[in-house]
């Protein structure tokens, strides 16, 4: 790229910041920018010189994103930038720092504590917090002191050092805090070593069946098998391949941008929007209603044998996700048999076996907040957060040298570790970090509270006989979250019985 040999480069957010390539003619932003500052930053990658204008092309992926892009461009013109406050000292990163320091040689506790405090985010970290992290690195930090014999760090001659110096390699192989989706290498079938063709995300690999073709490294390959965490392929030509998807990191639309979008929806017509999008909004206004600032719109409708409820909260993906988790657990209590939900930046779509008829008690802020902590424990978002915290803090390293590759039954998921800690050691350091991280990031509870304050008691519940224009894109959203409850067990029992009789096995 620097040498100017590549004509184009496709990337996730990884090239947003810190890149200084002057030769980029054009930035093509696919999908909505999610926040205004990010959009400006991205556009600025083109013609990265102080005296040349930057050019970009925005490609919204659906009609809602058209609206969002429009609102973001208006904000850029108005100089109305947004941004989130910087996160406070992440302790999982500190654990990694302590382990890496130990790899370089014995260290003095006070000196390292002092060094850590010289970094901005950690300036206010207490000695007790630091010692907690040190204890985690040394002994695992469990209430049950099980690893006295297998400590990672030993205190010797006034300094901390690795018990087993060979561990340095394992620790160094796992340096870093960017949590990518799990990537699997793609290799030619029966090839011995050599560079892999590339990498795909595990979720994409899981969607392949032998015989599928996909495009990687500029060639079409045929999927043969998933073996020892390697995607084995053979050469294939002439068929339309699938394209591997890389989801990257998902950001939530900022509060400021969401408010702008809501305001834009209030216009009586939309001459600035492409016709198909303006018509889509007009149709929504005709068959249902457009969401309004200060009120919460909820639509319910039947679709393919399930009952759906769509809540337009405009609180950003993470908060809408949490709202989905909280509401479905309240619905489970009320025996409304929820089956799952999916969240986007502007709405949460819930489906289940019973219709939602009285949402107000479900949305009572005090009851939502009261149940939050206890409820948080069992849910998928916490497990996802725990997975990344455990990796960063060095509990479950991603890479191990000479990792035993045979027998996938030897490995088990970090969800099991989460469940075990929740049951036996709920105040463990990593559980505390997970809760704090989740509240700030994936849970984003503050934005739900902000939304509930904003709408007060003003809920508009509309019963419709079919999916509405605004709800339709929600049916296509990725990242559906299943609700493990009575409804699922009910369906599972029906489905297994059906399969048994279909196979003549009853």
């Amino acid at each position: 790229m620097v040498a100017g040999q590549l004509r184009a480069i496709v990337c996730t957010g990884s090239l947003d910041l810190g890149i200084d390539w002057g030769d980029v003619d054009l930035v093509i932003q696919v999908g909505a920018p999610k926040n205004v500052k990010r959009l400006v930053q991205r556009i600025g990658r083109a013609n990265h010189r102080y005296n040349a204008p930057s050019k970009a092309l925005l490609v919204p992926a659906n009609r809602f994103e058209v609206v969002e892009c429009r609102a973001a461009l208006d904000a850029v013109r108005a100089g109305d930038l947004d941004g989130d406050p910087r996160g406070s000292a992440p302790l999982d990163v500190l654990c990694q720092k302590i382990l890496i320091t130990a790899c370089a040689g014995p260290f003095d506790t006070a000196a390292l504590y002092h060094e850590v405090r010289t970094a901005g985010p950690y300036a206010a970290i207490s000695r007790a917090q630091f010692d907690d992290c040190l204890d985690f690195c040394a002994t695992g930090g469990y209430a049950l002191r099980a690893y006295d014999k297998w400590k990672r760090l030993l205190f010797k001659d006034g300094k901390w050092q690795l018990r087993d110096p060979r561990a340095a390699r394992n620790i160094r192989m796992n340096i870093g805090t960017i949590q990518d989706a799990d990537l699997l290498k793609v290799r030619m079938h029966r090839s011995r070593g050599g560079a892999p063709l590339g990498e795909v995300e595990e979720s994409f690999a899981a969607s392949l069946t032998p015989g599928d073709t996909f495009l990687i490294g500029g060639q079409i390959v045929r999927f043969e098998a998933l073996r020892e965490l390697v995607v084995e392929v053979s050469r294939d030509r002439g068929r339309t391949p699938r394209v591997a998807t890389f989801s990257g990191t998902k950001f939530a639309t900022s509060t400021q941008l969401s408010a702008r979008i809501l305001r834009l929806l209030q216009q009586s017509e939309w001459p600035d929007l492409p016709r198909h999008t303006a018509e889509w909004l007009a149709l929504q206004r005709k068959v249902s209603r457009l969401p309004r600032p200060g009120r919460l719109l909820i639509e319910t409708f039947p679709h393919e044998g399930r009952e759906y409820a769509c809540l337009y909260g405009f609180a950003g993906r993470n908060a809408q996700q949490t709202l989905g988790l909280l509401l479905t657990s309240r619905m489970e209590e009320e025996r409304l048999a929820p089956l799952g939900f999916v969240a986007a930046d502007y709405a949460t779509l819930i489906w289940g076996l019973e219709p939602l008829t009285d949402p107000a008690p479900l949305l009572d802020p005090t009851r939502l907040a009261a149940g939050l902590d206890g409820w948080l424990q069992g849910n998928a978002v916490m497990k996802r957060t725990f997975r990344s915290v455990a990796t960063i803090a060095g509990l479950t390293p991603r890479n191990l040298p000479g990792q035993r590759k045979s027998g996938r039954q030897a490995t088990f998921s970090s969800d099991i570790l989460y469940d075990t800690l929740a049951k036996y050691d709920p105040d463990h350091l990593l559980m505390r970090i997970t809760r704090a991280e989740a509240m700030r990031g994936l849970v984003d509870f503050a934005r739900i509270e902000e939304m509930l304050t904003r709408i007060g008691p003003d809920i508009d519940l509309l019963r419709l006989d079919r999916v509405t224009p605004l709800a339709a894109p929600m049916l296509l959203e990725v990242g559906r979250v299943p609700v493990e409850g009575q409804a699922r067990e009910r369906l599972l029992a029906e489905e297994t019985e059906r399969l048994m009789s279909a196979a003549g096995l009853t």
Binding site: Y142, W150, N170, T411, F412, Y424
Partner: protein, 220 residues
Amino acid sequence: MDASHHFEFQGCTLTARPSGALWWAKARTLTVSDLHLGKAERMARRAGLQIPPYEVQDTLQRLQSEIEALSPTRVICLGDTFDDMEAGRAVAIQVQDWLTRLQSGREWVWIEGNHDPGPLPLSSAHLAELTLATLVFRHIATPETGEISGHYHPKAKLPVKGAGAARPCFLYDERRVILPAFGTYTGGLRTSDPALSRLMGPRARAVLTGPRALPMPMPR
């Protein structure tokens, strides 16, 4: 409502429990497989990792619940009870009293697995395999008929779209039964893996564990 699944196998009525344990009511025999006790200790020793050290407690607690619910006269641990021999020695001493309490008043059989192939400092019988009536209990499946085994940790995906993770499952056909792993720190092998689909006949069933034991045709 009965949450277990009952089935006929080689003239015996067996019960797949939601917990992943196999109950043979007539012989009052409870069988569990692949407890992998000491996995955390082994990971600390071998890889320098310190995963939550509660898996022995959790696994034995669940085993105790099954024993209390069923009052078996015989308990069979079908191999890979310990994650390796060293973990076995360490854990056996650690939880000796607990194991003794569980064992008292009943026959207890340890079958060898590939992870724990030798004798351990435990009371009660330690065998490579055990034959009872028409059934033979061993760790890894062989071509023999009438076999109850473990080893593979079979798991199956739920047959409902978007239902999330797979669950450990039993597998059975006319010739053999394969138990899911009972241990807390165990992963699973999909039933679609050739290692499992080769072993099982075309009419094989999978019984999902969880809140209820759910039988279904084995996913291949």
